[in-house]
Symmetry: C2
Subunit: 264 residues, 2 copies
């Protein structure tokens, strides 16, 4: 009875979490615009708040030995807001399948116009055995009641093709203290930052990143090296593969993530 | 007349800028506590808001061809707040001398207890000739009316001795896209992150950084390499010197910054 009542009084508003932000001085790159890394951080943060306030957040899950794992993140921006500009990040759940859920985002200016949108795909794992959890069995209607068909007018993530082993990596980053999150893995945002650091400043001076797609494949840990390969054959669209290589002698490289960067 | 009235109605409150924050999931290190880099970012951001709201912010200055330059930053924390914890950063001006001004900070919990404090020293330069500006001549009473003797019970910055040229740098970082700020220099916060990345994860697992001091000496630019030297002779206190080396053949190293890190 109480649940039915809840459903009746639930408005579209309550399905969407919104956070008002401002572009801080240290959140911009040398062009004076918000960076993809910081924006990614804002998106994931608002996602966490949305989930926590609706009863499926990380804190509650952790006590039940489940955790959300970010599988894909796609951000496409018509324009990146400049330093000092106030903006709002909105997030909502588009739908839930057995093994993953789609969460979308909009990045809006003070006048309501869209700077851009983002799409993300999440799975849930059992922390003890690292295996995926059946979301429909676990949540069913609990998440479904938050579905909303708020528009997210950017293409779904494309297939990012695995790269052939290239002769020379574009760069190698040893995993350091600042890369590691509370789960002792390289944090999702750091990959975005490392990948954007593969491109020379000159490119950012004459082009901007219109769209950034990343697919997370396997966790890298402290002690690993991140070996980055770049396919520039479709310039100004670049495919990047980051492989982690453990410090053990003879260790093979394992794909940590793949990304596709659309300059224009 | 209006100025006199302003002075009379000015309370201690209006001399202090405060910002309420929360420790976000991606703002913590693997121990689950706020990082020094992110905290430094918060401090500088609130400093900017304090200055802008009182008529001596970067935006206004830039139009007059002046800019604030951070010369020293010292942060000392009894404890770093954990993920999810709300906290407040306060900042105020302690005093102004001819060539520099002291700005202090407190980091307070929701119950008002202090997580820690920070001290910073700023100079102002003329953007055209990069020379320091006489602050007392430029501002005089305009800044002085905001002085407040709010307590900041941490020691003033110590002398950080220049390091002898060490045989081997602890690490070398090429300056990349993400390091560069809107002035096309390596941003102040990135030095803090690079310096903390010099220490192995094992140290952070058994010790914490109680105090972090940094003195900025000269700007590094894109194309430079940051060569980091560490003096570990006073372990658990470390002195770090970051020198920038331009890509030109035969280029000498120039000190970019020096830091002192107090583990406990």
């Amino acid at each position: 009875m109480c649940q039915i009542l809840d459903k009746i009084i639930m408005t579209e508003i309550s399905k969407i979490e919104a956070q008002q932000l401002v572009v801080e001085p240290f959140h911009v790159d040398f062009t004076g615009r918000l960076t993809y890394g910081i924006l990614g951080n804002h998106l994931l943060n608002v996602a966490g708040v949305h989930a926590a306030r609706r009863g499926f957040g990380m804190g509650l899950l952790h006590s039940r030995h489940y955790a959300w794992v970010l599988s894909r993140l796609t951000i496409e921006m018509e324009e990146m807001p400049r330093e000092g500009i106030p903006f709002t990040v909105q997030t909502w759940v588009e739908d839930v399948y057995r093994l993953f859920t789609n969460r979308n985002f909009s990045v809006l200016g003070a006048d309501g116009h869209a700077y851009g949108y983002a799409r993300s795909i999440w799975a849930m794992i059992d922390i003890d055995n690292r295996k995926p959890v059946d979301l429909t069995a676990l949540y069913g209607d609990d998440i479904a009641r938050y579905f909303t068909q708020q528009p997210c007018p950017i293409p779904k993530p494309s297939h990012i093709k695995p790269l052939e082993a290239a002769a020379t990596p574009a760069a190698t980053f040893p995993v350091r203290y600042g890369d590691i999150d509370i789960n002792e893995h390289v944090n999702s945002i750091r990959y975005i930052e490392h990948i954007l650091d593969l491109f020379p400043l000159e490119r950012y001076a004459r082009q901007r990143v219109k769209r950034f797609e990343i697919a997370y494949v396997a966790e890298a840990r402290y002690g690993d090296e991140l070996v980055c390969y770049v396919d520039a054959s479709e310039d100004p669209v670049f495919t990047v593969e980051v492989r982690s290589r453990s410090a053990q002698p003879g260790a093979e490289e394992a794909t940590a993530c793949r990304a596709k960067i659309f300059f224009e």
